[in-house]
């Protein structure tokens, strides 16, 4: 009896873990949940060693019309220091891919969320990037409910048209 159980149970555990791992990686790949980070970057270093960077916005800024610029370009990095690791990249290149992506049907406005005096900070959704030393994903997939919960708590409208188009 014990032997039978072992015969079934051990492969069960083994394959469960294996397939879990394989499928998770596979799904991440198929659903493009990974993001390439070719140049290593440490947020912690840049934020705590007196580089004169006061907040997220210094590098992750906004266009004049309020559009969020996202991950900075190599040119922005070069503006402070030109390192050999940037060799081969154009100023306008953004070699890092982002984990944070939205379907086309969501009109998410960074500027509306961060600048309307309602306590949202970058870390609320992106996690504690301040202390991150590499480009690993901190906060995973964020479904609509998370946005709506915060809106409800802050008494902001949850009507569809607020975020969707």
């Amino acid at each position: 009896m014990k032997r039978s159980l072992l015969l079934i149970f051990l492969p069960f555990i083994l394959f469960a873990f294996l397939s879990f791992f394989v499928f998770q990686k596979g799904c991440d790949y198929a659903m493009s949940n990974q993001a390439e980070k070719p140049i290593p970057f440490s947020h912690k270093t840049h934020l705590t060693q007196g580089y004169g960077i006061s907040g997220c916005e210094d590098c992750h800024g906004y266009d004049e019309n309020g559009r969020f610029k996202g991950i900075p370009t190599v040119g922005q990095c070069r503006a402070c220091h030109d390192k050999p690791i940037f060799k081969g990249y154009k100023d306008s290149d953004v070699p890092w891919e982002s984990y944070a992506r939205q379907p086309d049907l969501v009109y998410f406005s960074h500027i509306a969320v961060t600048k309307n005096n309602k306590e949202a900070r970058c870390s609320s959704c992106h996690g504690d990037k301040e202390n991150a030393v590499d480009g690993r994903k901190i906060k995973g997939k964020m479904l609509m409910g998370v946005c709506m919960d915060c809106h409800t708590a802050l008494k902001i409208s949850n009507k569809c048209a607020v975020c969707h188009d």
């Binding site: 492969p11 394959f15 294996l18 799904c27 198929a30 659903m31």
Partner: protein, 665 residues
């Protein structure tokens, strides 16, 4: 240890499979898989994001030159922004700019003419080939067989084209029909000037329009809309004379329905009353002319022919005479104008009689500008001496002149002229046909070379958006060709179009007038004969559809989306007629019919019953029936110009297609 037998193996395998399944489910893969399938089947198109900026510029699609802004996302033009300016064509500029069937490179014909088979060639090669042909033609003494057909809106490239032909030794530059060139003939006849009628519509306070569909594409759209708003503000009165209750007629203060093609008669009927009121005009032959009007264009005669009641004619004449700034407007139609020179002269005479000519809110003469007489070498001079210029485009097409080289400048006469089929035959016989065009339209289809030009979006000014193509401005192309022709290059001392100082157009008041009675005497007989045709009992009157005009708009899918169901639906064109007309032939709403005139037959079209059209008249939309105009514009409906009257007006050399009579089958 016990040997592993089949049952054990099965237990292991079972455990593995179930374990695998559990891992699969717990990893969230089924949900992701389903989401992936959903996204894959939806196959959603996602526009690429980017930084937004605006480019300010001027739309050069028509002489209005409206100020526009182009919203750019990175280097993509996505929208034309205006502040209540522009027109529907302006909004469609992005579609024109990005049209997938735009000609990107110079094309050379590789199949038979008319097969539509072209292959890209290099600019240098094309220009070389073309200039070689030009040089050869001139050396053979056939310089007078050079010809060109141009679009009325291309003012500057037309000036260059005219210079090219003259310097080469040919007078054969013809313009598609428009108020500019139709009134040019009238102005020459009446005032002995080389100019076009220029109406100050915005400031007039009584506008008497003779089937000039002012709010449907006549003239330039934005300035007409501006004038329309001003009329509302200043309480100006628009009186629209028209056979159909067109959009303009509906918006007018008064609509005067009249029998098809009788605008000239009505104009002179009104002149009769003006003369009776003592209005005169200085000019040679005025006495004879007045006598002719009194004899022939009496209220009874005019009322009988036009169908307008005698009291109405007298009342309108009175209002016209008493208005502070009356203006009579000629030019039947919208984008496509069809009026005989005699008709324009008759209507213009009304303006002379009430002294509106040369005043604000009246009409002036806009002199045709020119880059000056080009230096002509011996070949050119000899050639110009023996060449006889036709009076107009249709006159040229119908003539025996077989061009050695034909240049088509952003025009589409094969579709827009009633002599389109004849032009195709001529083009088949012409050794070298060059079309300057952005899209392969009906005329470019029969060309030997298609040289890509720029859309209005690429010409809005500095930092205009550019496509990845080799298109050039039409003026540049003409300059390139001209500078490659021996003996002609001297007339083009500029290396690029930007260097050229184009002259401004001058507005003047005419000093001398010449009235001729003969052309009007004939007209009355012709019109009466027309109205009594038994074999072709119905009149065919065209109208234009918003955004399509005389055919240009049909290549754009967003324009296709805007077409009303009773004009084109389910792949069929609709014609409009009065229920009484339909009853006579036993037709009902939606019946399929063919239209037959003396010149031929088109069909099938569907019948729409409406009382907006007079009994005995069939109203047909223009702009459809392209044989080649991108996949969006081709083979949709029929082109009524194929069967419309092609009788050529002796003064303007252009066919007047408003007098068509048809029968139905």
């Amino acid at each position: 240890m016990k040997k592993i037998d089949r049952r054990d193996f099965l237990k292991v395998a079972g455990g593995a499979v179930v374990g695998g399944g559990a891992g699969f489910v717990l990893s969230g893969a089924p949900f992701d898989a389903f989401q992936w399938v959903v996204e894959w089947t939806q196959d959603q198109v996602v526009p690429s994001p980017g930084e937004e900026r605006f480019i300010t510029g001027i739309c050069h699609a028509c002489p209005n030159k409206c100020a526009i802004r182009v919203r750019m996302i990175d280097d993509r033009a996505v929208k034309i922004e205006t502040e209540n300016k522009g027109c529907s064509m302006g909004q469609a500029l992005v579609q024109w700019f990005y049209h997938p069937e735009r000609v990107k490179y110079p094309l050379k014909r590789v199949g038979k003419k008319g097969s539509g088979k072209f292959a890209p060639v290099k600019w240098d090669e094309a220009i070389q080939d073309i200039t070689t042909s030009f040089n050869k033609l001139r050396k053979e003494g056939k310089a007078d067989s050079l010809a060109a057909i141009t679009n009325p809106h291309t003012m500057r490239s037309t000036l260059l084209l005219e210079r090219l032909l003259r310097a080469a030794g040919s007078p054969h530059l013809y313009t598609e029909s428009c108020m500019c060139n139709l009134s040019r003939a009238a102005v020459k006849h009446l005032y002995n000037l080389d100019g076009a009628l220029c109406y100050d519509l915005e400031n007039a306070d009584y506008i008497l329009s003779f089937s000039a569909r002012l709010l449907e594409g006549w003239g330039q759209p934005y300035s007409m809309h501006k004038a329309f708003l001003n009329w509302k503000k200043t309480d100006a009165k628009l009186v629209q004379v028209d056979t159909l209750c067109s959009r303009t007629a509906s918006l007018a203060n008064e609509w005067i329905p009249l029998k098809p093609g009788t605008e000239l008669t009505l104009a002179l009927g009104i002149a009769y009353h003006l003369l009776r009121k003592g209005k005169t005009s200085r000019g040679t032959g005025f006495a004879d002319w007045s006598q002719m009007v009194f004899n022939y264009y009496t209220p009874d005669n005019v009322s009988k022919i036009t169908g307008v009641p005698i009291e109405t004619i007298s009342r309108i004449a009175g209002e016209f005479a008493e208005a502070k700034r009356p203006l009579a407007v000629a030019g039947r139609g919208g984008t496509g104008i069809s009026s005989s020179a005699a008709e324009i002269i008759a209507i213009q005479t009304l303006n002379d009689l009430v002294e509106s000519t040369g005043k604000t809110g009246g009409v002036s003469i806009k002199l045709f500008s020119t880059l000056g007489d080009p230096p002509a070498d011996d070949i050119a001079r000899a050639s110009l001496e023996k060449a006889t210029r036709s009076k107009g485009l249709d006159d040229f097409i119908a003539s025996e002149i077989d061009p050695g080289i034909l240049i088509i400048n952003e025009a589409n006469p094969v579709h827009r002229s009633t002599h389109g089929k004849k032009l195709v035959e001529k083009m088949q016989r012409t050794p070298l046909v060059i079309s300057l065009s952005t899209l392969i339209n009906d005329t470019a289809h029969y060309s030997d070379y298609i040289l890509p030009t720029l859309t209005a979006l690429e010409r809005i000014g500095e930092s205009a958006p550019v496509t990845r193509s080799q298109s050039l401005c039409a003026g540049e192309i003409i300059l390139k060709i001209a500078r490659g022709i021996e003996g002609v290059a001297d007339a083009f001392p500029w290396s690029s179009r930007a260097e050229i100082d184009f002259p401004e157009e001058e507005l003047i008041t005419p000093r001398t007038r010449a009235y001729s009675a003969d052309i009007f005497k004939e007209h009355l007989k012709q019109i009466s004969a027309q109205q009594e045709q038994k074999e072709y009992p119905l009149a065919l009157i065209p109208f234009e559809v918003p955004a399509i005009g005389d055919g240009v708009g049909l290549a754009f899918p967003y324009v296709l989306k805007s077409i009303d169901g009773k004009i084109f639906s389910y792949d069929k064109l609709w014609v409009h007629m009065h229920p009484e007309t339909a009853e006579k032939d036993g037709l009902s709403e939606g019946s399929k019919i063919d239209l037959i005139s003396k010149r031929g037959e088109i069909g099938s079209v569907r019948v729409h019953l409406t009382k907006l059209v007079a009994p005995g008249v069939v109203a047909v939309p223009l702009g459809f029936g392209h044989t080649s105009y991108t996949k969006y514009g081709s083979d949709k409906g029929v082109n009524p110009k194929e069967i419309m009257t092609a009788d050529i007006d002796p003064i303007s050399g252009t066919a007047d297609w408003w007098l068509t009579r048809i029968q139905i089958s």
